[in-house]
C-alpha cells in the first residue's frame, strides 16, 4: 500500500516537474516570438488591401469583430477582421474582409485550424460575396446548396464571418448617418 502511494506521488511529481519546465520554456519562447495582434492585423490590412494608404483603427474587441479599421483615402477602404463560428467541430475562423464603396472587394483567411481552406479557395467561394451592396443586402445563406461541397463546415464558418462583418459595417454606417442602430 505504502509502495503504491509512493509510486503514485513520484508519478505526480515527475509529471508536474515536466509540465512546469515545459511551461517555463514555452513562456520564454513566447516572449521572444511575441507578435502584437493589433500590429499584426494592421500590417495585414496594409498588405492585403492593395492600397498604399495607412489604416486607422476604429474598433478593437474580443467579440465577432476583432479589428475594424479605415484607410485615410478620399474613398476609404474599410478593413475588418471578423470571426465566424461553425467550422469543423465548431471551429472558429478569422477572416480579413475589405470593403470599398459599400461592397466587399477582397476576402482573405486569417487564423483558423481548418484543413479544407484550400478547397474553399479553389472553388472561388469568395466570388459570390464581391460587388454586392452591403447596405441593402440580406445575410448570405449558409444553406447546404450555397456551400462548398467537401468543405461545408469551413465554408459555413467563412459565410458566418462575412455576415458578422456585413452586419457590423451596416450598423457602423447607420451610426454615422444618425439612423437607428
Amino acid at each position: 500500500m505504502t509502495f503504491k502511494i509512493k509510486n503514485m506521488i513520484k508519478s505526480v511529481v515527475v509529471l508536474c516537474v515536466i509540465a512546469s519546465m515545459s511551461g517555463l520554456l514555452l513562456g520564454f519562447v513566447n516572449k521572444l516570438t511575441y507578435i502584437d495582434p493589433l500590429q499584426e492585423s494592421l500590417n495585414k490590412f496594409n498588405t492585403l488591401s492593395g492600397t498604399q494608404a495607412t489604416f486607422e483603427l476604429l474598433k478593437q474587441d474580443d467579440g465577432d469583430i476583432l479589428f475594424f479599421a479605415k484607410s485615410d483615402e478620399q474613398t476609404p477602404v474599410y478593413a475588418i477582421l471578423a470571426k465566424g463560428g461553425g467550422g469543423f467541430r465548431n471551429g472558429i475562423v478569422e477572416m480579413y474582409i475589405f470593403i470599398k464603396d459599400n461592397s466587399i472587394y477582397k476576402i482573405s483567411q486569417g487564423n483558423n485550424k481548418e484543413t479544407y481552406f484550400k478547397t474553399v479557395e479553389k472553388a472561388n467561394f469568395y466570388d459570390k460575396f464581391y460587388n454586392i451592396d452591403l447596405t441593402t443586402a440580406d445575410n448570405f445563406s449558409t444553406e447546404k446548396a450555397d456551400l462548398v461541397s467537401n468543405a461545408s463546415f469551413t465554408s459555413t464558418a467563412v459565410t458566418n464571418a462575412i455576415n458578422n462583418a456585413k452586419e457590423y459595417y451596416k450598423n457602423y454606417l447607420e451610426t454615422l448617418t444618425g439612423g437607428t442602430n
Binding site: N7, L15, A19, K113
Partner: protein, 206 residues
C-alpha cells in the same frame, strides 16, 4: 566502433528504416503536405526539429520517468517542441505558417515521433537518440521533398514556384489526393527496389 554504430544509427533512419518509404509512418502529413516542394521541405524540417529535441529530452529523462506515465510525459515533451515550432514559424514565416498551421499542430500526434520516443529514445543514450532523431527527420524531409518535387512538377510544371516547362498542359486530377497516393506508391516501390537491390549486393546474394 562508436563511429560505426553512429553511422549505422544514422543510415537506419535515412535508408534502412526510412519513416515514409519503409516504415510507412506519418502518412497523413506526407499526403497533405507534399503538394509542393516548399511545403514538403518545411514540414520535414519542422518534424526533424521536434524529433531531435524530443528524443534528446526523453532520453535524458528516461531513468526518471516512471513506466506507467511515460506516454503522458512523452506527449508533454513532444507538444512543447511542436508549440515552439509553431511560435517560430508564426513569427518568421507567416505566409508558410498560414498554409501549414493545421498540420504543424498535428505533428504532436505524428506516429514517427511517438514511435521513436517509445522504441528508441526511452532506452538509449542521449547522443544516440539525437542521431536517431536527426536521421529519421532527415529521411522524412528527403522523402517529403522528393514527393513534393514530383507532385509540383506534374501538377503545374514548376519547382519552388519557378516555371520549368513553358506552356505546361494542365492535366486533369494531377493535384488530387488520388494522384498523391499514386506518386507515393510509385516512389515507395522505386525506393524499396533500389534499397533491396543494394542490400543484396552488399550481402553477396545474386
Amino acid at each position: 566502433m562508436e563511429t560505426l554504430r553512429d553511422k549505422d544509427t544514422f543510415l537506419n533512419g535515412l535508408i534502412k528504416s526510412n519513416p515514409d518509404f519503409v516504415l510507412v509512418l506519418g502518412m497523413c502529413p506526407t499526403l497533405a503536405m507534399s503538394t509542393n516542394l516548399l511545403q514538403g521541405f518545411a514540414m520535414g524540417i519542422a518534424t526533424t526539429f521536434v524529433l531531435i529535441f524530443s528524443n534528446i529530452f526523453i532520453s535524458m529523462l528516461r531513468k526518471v520517468i516512471p513506466d506507467k506515465i511515460r506516454i503522458p510525459c512523452f506527449i508533454i515533451i513532444i507538444s512543447t517542441f511542436v508549440i515552439i515550432v509553431e511560435l517560430v514559424m508564426r513569427k518568421y514565416f507567416p505566409d508558410l505558417y498560414s498554409t501549414m498551421k493545421a498540420f504543424i499542430s498535428l505533428i504532436v500526434v505524428n506516429c514517427i515521433i511517438l514511435a521513436r520516443a517509445e522504441s528508441f529514445a526511452s532506452c538509449n543514450k542521449v547522443k544516440d537518440s539525437a542521431i536517431d532523431g536527426f536521421s529519421m527527420g532527415l529521411g522524412f524531409t528527403l522523402s517529403l521533398s522528393a514527393l513534393g518535387f514530383i507532385r509540383e512538377l506534374i501538377t503545374s510544371g514548376t519547382v519552388l514556384g519557378l516555371s520549368i516547362f513553358n506552356n505546361f498542359p494542365q492535366m486533369l486530377g494531377t493535384s488530387s489526393k488520388a494522384m498523391g497516393f499514386i506518386v507515393l506508391g510509385l516512389s515507395m516501390a522505386a525506393f524499396n527496389q533500389i534499397r533491396i537491390k543494394n542490400s543484396k549486393k552488399k550481402a553477396g546474394v545474386k
